[in-house]
Amino acid sequence: MVLELCSVSVEDISWGRKTILDGTALLVHREGLLAAAKGNDHRITSVKAFIARPGESVRILPVKDVIEPRVKVEGKGGMFPGLISGVETVGTGRTHALRGCAVVTAGQVVGVQEGLIDMSGPGAHYSPFSRTLNIVLAVNVKYGTSPHEHEEALRLAGLRAAVYLGEAGRNAKPVDVERFEVRSPFTPKRGNADLPGIVYVYMLLSQGLLHDTYLYGQNATSLLPTLIMGTEIMDGAIVSGNCVSACDKNTTYHHQNNPVVRELFKRDGIDLRFLGTVVGNCNVTLPAKLRAAQYGVKLVEFLCADGAVITKEGFGNPDADAMMYCAGLEQMGIRTVMITDEFAGVDGASQSLADTTPRADAVVSTGNANERILLPPMEKVIGDMRVIERMAGGQSGSISQEGITVELQAILGATNELGFEFLSAREE
């Protein structure tokens, strides 16, 4: 299985009379985009679109999801299988990704778990989406739409918009081609059998009740851990439906660009053998957690892994799932590294996790999400500023003359647990 993920460079974005890529400038026909985003969804009453560029004095909140616009130019399947295209297996052929830009769904909020993106100032150091040219969609739904219907409407509108924009890159000449190749774990390439075999354990936050992730359109909540090819992940097989704290929410963009998968592909055959990925969910009951962890550990063992990288989404409840995977794998003699963020309190003096195992002796920290930051006022706010006081990471009195004081928790992607960012925490 070979996927060529091609970067089509987007360096500027503006409204135009039709949606085309002119060199590295993306022109967007606003009405066409709005119509695509709305689709035939009768729950959506209105959609507005804005452009937010890096360096601008713009704050976007509340943000639900971020998606990278892409188009399938060769090979089976389409974008976001099971939700937008059919359910045909993806992960082969060629896909063009519009690098440097993103679709951001914002506006009317589903829960209080969404986040913010600052396009400049100190907050811009913490979100990868402060560095992308963003097409922001503010979506409104019919009064009385249930939160679950509301979430679905927003999710699908964002995906449709990304597909619409991605189409502009169909005939573009890529500036870079990443070649990802999956080999059967049972037939090691000649000459590298001595390299350690690594499996990626990819926990998808999926507890139901607005904490959902979709695999080929199926909610992972009801999933038993299963195998997935790294190429499928990089080709949009996993979509976020999560309404969780912003700092460690894995948006669809993060899934499309999973940094662990990318890293393991990069080093495959050089200093490791990338044997495969086990996706699992994180449910809320103890039997469901035990079932998933034991089933997942068995799959990793079946792949004859020497080691595994475990990643998370969210905090608190999922800490328990991560510890079960870690302890279970280490018990089988499979060495692990776990990536997690921390909730060590505003002063950093508290213990950081809700669960623990002495076997977790190799942990990568992506930062203390409780640490506070003052974000100065921005000239333009896309969305609704007042929600900050109710947002996870904000609090009553967050807004002052100097700006807003929030925990990093409120910034989208700040402490991403796929290891997307450079942020870490250490003891001082």
Binding site: H148, V346, T356, E417, E428
Partner: protein, 346 residues
Amino acid sequence: MKVVHYLNQFFGQIGAEDKAGIEPVVKTGPVGPGVLFQELLGSEAEITATIVCGDNYFAEHIDKATEKILAMITDYHPDLVLAGPAFNAGRYGIACGAICAAVVSRLGVPAITGMFAENPGVESFRKTVYIVATRGTTAGMRDGALKMARLALKLAKGQPIGPPGEEGYLPRGLRKNYFAPETGASRAVTMLLKKLKGEPFLTEYPMPVFDRVVPLPPVERMSEVTLALITSGGIVPKGNPDRVEASSATKYGKYDISALQRLTAESHETAHGGYDPTYANEDPNRVLPLDVARDLEREGIIGRLYPYYYATVGNGTSVARAGQFAREIATELIADGVRAVIITST
């Protein structure tokens, strides 16, 4: 800048163990190791006074001695306070830590001390005071004083302080963010390969040791007991009057339910930002089971329901903060004769 230095009776050149009972005294200028410190601090700082106190006197009158010494320090209006180093001397270490902590918190003046890692003063004060790592004996005086002087000047000038390994102080147990040179994903794969090869690697978060609470024996004669309800599921009176945060709660609420038989969608809601609020808002009894608690009261299975409930939000709330809430709430409940509690979480 002006500096005040604290020493015990031995380093303060008053005497050995037989003088450990002396009360604090002030001497002008540097004394004993203070001479070395003055040399290391250079012309930027002047040790204007040295305060000397016996180790036993301090240990036996901690509060009184701290007050006295703080008053003496205040008289000199210092920009910086140095204490010790205390090496592995336990009583001296506690005194140095306590004085520095008081100076920092009450005078707002930077203070620094030095100790051997196993000095009992380290565990008590490392979170509030910079303690430079020294050797166990006075053989480490010059090296310890050098690191103390360097860090002290940085602190006094308000310069940013680097990590413990770089600056030479003992880790304070505080988690601080920084930007690493590689992404988390890249660090994870590198760490795993080192672990597999048996090469040394450094975990970025050593696992904490959790408190384990031994359950009490079951409650006897429930029918005579006052029962209270507590929740971390964020159920608050409609409108969230105390503004309990959706995440990382800094407070909890105490709410009167003496006149209520059950909660309703009109009377209560959840402030919690970590779970889907739809079903809790529809029927708040799902998270705070007042309805069934009233049934139990009516049926005589419990003696009486406590007229208040306590609520906070467990979402991302630090363990240290939750522990503080628990101690405060438990004190009130015990004082009011509550013998059993049902705690619901989400």
